[in-house]
């Protein structure tokens, strides 16, 4: 009862240990002398973000410095993570505005639905990711803080222009 081992008769070039070792040493030496390094020196250099990057929120303002938000309530409705808290108010002219507008950036999953659903183009997700705080409470951004953000906002995917051209 012979065992059915299939023996591949490979040429010595493919099974040689010494040759493989020398080849490997040459390869590592080549990389050692190669000045092209892939590491990004983070605080000084940053990776360019995609124009569709969805990061920290930003509330856009009108020319007289008020939030564009009309407190329609669409964004807390559409938010799948339930992270937007909105209490609407109304002034004497009947214009609605948010009394309280808070986004919990910890709960947010950065889907960007709030930006998509907003009829006034007020709330946006932004091209920004460097958030750090000493407490969890620090991640609940209120309206002033959302308005004070200055980073560029996300350009949502446009079905008419799928490649962003």
């Amino acid at each position: 009862m012979a065992i059915g081992v299939k023996v591949l008769d490979r040429p010595i070039e493919q099974t040689s240990y010494v040759r493989a070792t020398l080849k490997g040493m040459a390869l590592t030496l080549k990389h050692l002398l190669d000045t092209d390094k892939v590491t990004i020196q983070y605080p000084e250099q940053k990776w360019p973000l995609s124009p569709r990057w969805r990061g920290t929120h930003r509330m856009l303002t009108t020319e007289d410095g008020k939030a564009k938000c009309v407190a329609c309530g669409l964004c807390p409705t559409v938010c799948p993570a339930n992270c937007i808290k909105l209490v609407p108010g109304e002034d004497e002219n009947g214009n609605r505005y948010p009394l309280v507008f808070e986004i919990d950036e910890f709960r947010c999953i950065f889907c960007g639905y709030c930006q998509e659903v907003c009829p006034e183009e007020a709330i946006h997700v932004g091209r920004h990711y460097e958030n750090s705080e000493y407490s969890r409470e620090g991640f609940v951004y209120d309206l002033e803080r959302l308005m004070a953000q200055t980073h560029p906002v996300c350009e949502m995917w446009d079905p008419a222009d799928p490649k962003g051209e």
Binding site: I3, T15, V18, T21, G24, T28, V38, Q41
Partner: protein, 448 residues
């Protein structure tokens, strides 16, 4: 330790057969005044220890930088210029960290083990001559901490002590992975120590002595007498054994992280781990220094005899010191380069290489070198002539081609898909057949 006894016998016999070197330094007596000797020794101790520790620090830095470059990264470059102070930062961090002790560990040995490995790594350095002797006005000062007449035997003895640190660490941790790492380490280091001891005998035969100073004297000159030319095969084997002895890749089975977590130092934390780490690099530097001393002429400057002739001024000492460090750092670089190139050996490959290949070949090489040098001397070519080195070089090149050819046949360190000998295949088939024949026909619920 019968190897060392054998080594002494062979060395003794060699001292009678081999010629004492002619073109070397005559070793002048030590300084007359006891005080001069005492002060010189203290200064040398401080110098050696400081340089060694700083050296280890920067070798660790170099390893991290070189490995990063090989992998197209940048490595530590934040602490100090080019990250030069990284090791200091790590040292401070490791001292500050909490030491953890496993509950079931055997405390005395658990604490002692890192110290043993660390000390054994440091001790070897004391006998290595790191520069040309200095004929000062207080007498001739040997530039080795303790220029012992048994220098080389001392290094081998201390190097084999290093395994105790690892085995005890593995055992005292009371952890199965640590224990396995320790066992592997002891098996590996003992196997390769024998190959190492055997591979070095040709060098001792040529020098006719085991004193490291004498070995360097024998190689002194234009660089043609370096043992790397005289005993290339011994150099090759010594280098492989040195890799195994220092537990560096491709021989890092004691701490194979894919199989044994971290091997013998799995349970160590903070400064105790750091001591194992320092010991590894210290061993690496010691092995490099030994290779430079035994095979590249130690502090000898090639292509000139300026450093070997009489007025042994302080400037010669300084220059030869620099040359010695250049050779040492070259070997350190080779260590690092190989580590980041080769994958780990399988255990059976390791053992096959050590026992089936290196040991018999090293013994055969002793015979070859002994008969060649004896024959050449009978033919009227003394050891210190250039003809001797050329003749040895020819023999060595032939032997190296044969050895590399044997390694290359794919039997010893073969990949799984390499070709199998017809004979081996028949043997395998027979074994399978025998096993099937002698087993009971039905196995009744027994453990298979």
């Amino acid at each position: 330790m019968s190897v060392f006894a054998l080594l002494q016998i062979v060395g003794g016999a060699a001292a009678q057969t081999a010629q004492t070197p002619g073109a070397g330094l005559e070793h002048l007596p030590q300084p007359d005044s006891g005080w001069a000797w005492f002060i010189a020794t203290v200064v040398k101790m401080l110098l050696t220890f400081t340089l060694y520790m700083v050296g280890v620090m920067y070798v660790i830095w170099a390893e991290r930088r070189i490995c990063a470059f090989i992998q197209d990264r940048r490595g530590p470059n934040r602490v100090g210029p080019h990250g030069l102070l990284q090791s200091i930062a790590d040292g401070v961090k490791n001292i500050m960290k909490e030491e953890t002790y496993p509950g079931q560990a055997y405390m005395p040995l658990f604490i002692l083990a890192p110290a043993i490995s660390f000390t054994a790594a440091l001790l070897t350095w004391s006998v290595i001559p790191f520069a040309a002797p200095w004929a000062s006005k207080w007498g001739t000062l040997d530039m080795a901490l303790a220029p012992m007449p048994i220098g080389f035997l001392f290094t081998i003895a201390i190097a084999s002590l290093g395994v105790y640190g690892i085995v005890l660490a593995g055992w005292a941790s009371n952890n199965k992975y640590s224990l396995l790492g320790g066992l592997r380490s002891s098996a590996q280091m003992i196997s390769y120590e024998i190959a190492m001891g055997m591979s070095i005998i040709p060098v001792l035969l040529l020098a006719g002595n085991v004193s490291l100073n004498q070995i360097i004297d024998q190689q002194a000159g234009y660089g043609i007498h370096w043992n790397v030319i005289n005993c290339t095969v011994a150099f090759f084997f010594f280098m492989i054994s040195a890799f195994a002895e220092t537990n560096r890749l491709p021989f890092d089975l004691p701490e194979a992280e894919s199989e044994l977590i971290a091997g013998y130092h799995s349970e160590y934390s903070a400064m105790k781990f750091s001591m194992f780490f320092i010991a590894e690099y210290a061993n690496m530097m010691t092995a490099s220094a030994l290779m430079a001393t035994l095979f590249l002429g130690g502090w000898d400057i090639p292509f000139t005899t300026w450093d070997n002739v009489a007025p042994h001024t302080f400037i010669k000492t300084l220059v030869t010191f620099g040359v010695f460090w250049v050779k040492l750092l070259f070997f350190v670089f080779v260590f690092i380069w190989i580590r980041w190139t080769l994958p780990r050996f399988r255990y059976d490959q390791l053992m096959a290489l050590g026992w089936k290949f290196m040991l018999p070949t090293a013994i055969a090489y002793v015979v070859v070198v002994a008969s060649a040098s004896l024959g050449l001397q009978y033919a009227g070519i003394p050891i210190d002539s250039w003809k001797f080195s050329v003749a040895m070089l020819v023999i060595n090149v032939v032997m190296m081609v044969l050895i590399v050819g044997v390694i290359d046949r794919g039997r010893l360190i073969s990949p799984a898909y390499s070709r199998l000998d017809k004979r081996d295949l028949a043997k395998l088939r027979q074994a399978r057949y025998d096993r099937a024949r002698f087993q009971p026909a039905t196995s009744e619920g027994g453990a298979d």
